[in-house]
Amino acid sequence: MTEKPTMIAFQDVHKYYGDYHALRGITATIRAGEFFSLLGPSGCGKTTLLRTIAGFEGISSGAVMIDERNMAGVPANQRPTNMVFQSYAIFPHLTVGENVGFGLRRAGLSKPELATRVGEALEMVGLKGYGDRAAHALSGGQRQRVALARALILKPKVLLLDEPLSALDKKMREQMQVELIRLQRQVGITFILVTHDQEEALVMSDRIAVMFEGEITQLADPETLYRRPNSRKVANFIGTMNFLPAMILAEGAGKIEVEAKGFGKLTLDAEQAPGGGQASAEGAAIGFRPETLTILFDGQTASDRETMAVIEEVVYFGDMTYYDVKLDGCDAPVRISMRNVFGRPVLDIGTRTRVAWSPGALVLFR
């Protein structure tokens, strides 16, 4: 894949609200045609950052560039961006069609042209024939589609989505996730999504910026974020991560030698310590995801390494079972998730069992 051109560039963006430092030096680029997510807990500045792109929020210093143009002093109505608001902001006094066509007034289209464009936009979001309905009579999912059509009809360079799925129920949310991905591929516009839902970000995005306290902590594709989080914060925010205390014995030539509780002495690639070289106050730790450890049932052989463990807790989820186990030589329990493949029993608390693991799945946090 060739590198796509830059659509949005943040250059050391700071934002203060009085004394409160909301954005602390954001530097990042978003590529054209990318589905990009800003992920983080509430209050991390992700919505503020999105609103600096839309022009609803000024910045205290730095620069926001859209398509190589500095947006300083450009008001919201002159930016090549459109937004889907968290509340959808559907105009309650207008019909669905009038809502969708709202931004086309300035295009000076004739009535039939306008009707055609609005009809096309509604069809694109699956609301064909809804044009004459009153906006306030729509369901949550329909309002969201209207908001999408209303923004996309203007063919913006960038579509901004401010937690657009948070007001929908689970089923509708999953359906809309798929639909948003389809829509983004269809129109090829850069989508920037703000969300606090890590699963949503992983499912939908080409790349994700994880934000904490006004800073981007890690910016990577979903797989890298999941497999190689660069900090404990990111690891905990995205999925579940087990941590075991570790000691760094030696390092050099792209290798790190580590002694970890429960796993013993290990040699890791430098790539397995994505957080870089700075030591944290908590001390070093080895992290791994629950599914990277496997319980070995009778007769199974380990493809890699193997150790013994005692099952402390069993949580049955139907398709999955979560086991909290204590590895030999380590007092802190770790979580293992096992798929309930046909014929495989659910083990009881107190069972002593063999556990397989692979050094490649481990991440080192300093």
């Binding site: 839309a54 609803f56 919201a76 105009f91 709202f102 007034r105 306030h136 009579a137 923004a151």
Partner: protein
């Protein structure tokens, strides 16, 4: 058996509801419907000397609608009420807008409180104060003479329609501000951002989003100001002079000075009908702003 049926009846929701509203209902019927019925009844009776003759007639209405004096007073009342309404609502909107959009949320109740301050003084006293302000030797005239803008006191500001309009517009300002304020408060601020996001300037967003959404409040303000002002008695009596008389003064004249209850009643009922029709036409013209709109 009868007992239990009564008990059952009392348990139904409808019966409970009726029971609950009955005290205010009785109150409303006694104090509103009964006098109104009496007036309507009177309006169809004939005036005799010192007594009311119980013969049914339309004569009062024919007189009320054909007599030039009555007609001109009615037209003037309508004109004054419409002018007052237009002036009041036009001036109230910016105030309501300012308080809703530009006052910090923590200060809003203080502002509303300040807006109601005129109510702390009796209506009568406020009207008298306007007399002091607008009078021949009043604040306005002596002030303007003092700074040399005019040599002679202005006489078009008191004892005519202008002074009635000024006084009523001031008296009803809070009534006009509050409904508009409430309507503006209810507007989701993200709608205004959406307007700008979709390419409209702040001004166009105001015209296309804010104003239509504030219309229910504007309509309420118009009705709240228009309906009472058209029948206002005190203001035209005190600051209106002979050429500022309005329909309420005419009704008072018929009842108390001429002792002609049927004529007074017929004028009163006619005025009521006209107000109702004008109000309904106004609401009808604006009904697209009033339906739905729930979020």
């Amino acid at each position: 058996m009868g007992q239990s049926r009564w008990a059952k009846l009392r348990q139904t929701e409808g019966a409970n509801g009726l029971l609950m509203i009955s005290p205010p209902a009785v109150y409303a019927i006694l104090l509103l419907a009964a006098p109104l019925g009496t007036i309507i009844l009177y309006s169809f009776l004939t005036d005799g000397y010192l007594e009311i003759i119980r013969t049914f007639t339309f004569a009062n209405y024919i007189e009320a609608w054909t007599n030039d004096l009555y007609r001109s007073v009615m037209v003037r009342s309508l004109g004054v009420a419409m002018t007052v309404t237009a002036v009041t609502v036009f001036l109230a909107f910016p105030i309501a807008y300012f308080v809703s959009f530009h006052v910090a949320p923590s200060k809003k109740s203080l502002w509303l409180f300040l807006i109601t301050i005129p109510f702390w003084t009796s209506y009568l006293i406020r009207v008298f104060l306007w007399k002091v302000i607008l009078g021949y030797n009043g604040v306005v005239n002596s002030g303007l003479i003092g700074i040399g803008v005019i040599d002679q006191p202005l006489d078009f500001i008191l004892y005519n329609v202008n002074s009635v309009v000024i006084t009523l517009a001031h008296a009803y300002a809070p009534f006009a501000i509050l409904p508009i304020f409430v309507a503006l408060e209810k507007i989701d601020r993200s709608l205004l951002e959406a307007g700008q996001d979709l390419g409209e300037s702040k001004f166009m967003t105001f015209l296309r989003v804010t104003l239509p959404l504030a219309m229910p409040g504007v309509i309420a303000s118009v009705l709240i100001v228009f309906i009472p002002t058209i029948g206002d008695y005190v203001t035209p009596q005190l600051v209106g002079g002979p050429e500022g008389r309005m329909v309420a003064n005419l009704i008072q004249l018929q009842y108390l000075k001429l002792d002609n209850y049927p004529m007074g009643s017929a004028i009163a009922v006619s005025a009521m009908v006209i107000v109702t029709i004008v109000s309904l036409i106004f609401v009808g013209l604006n009904r697209r702003y009033l339906r739905g709109g729930k979020r």
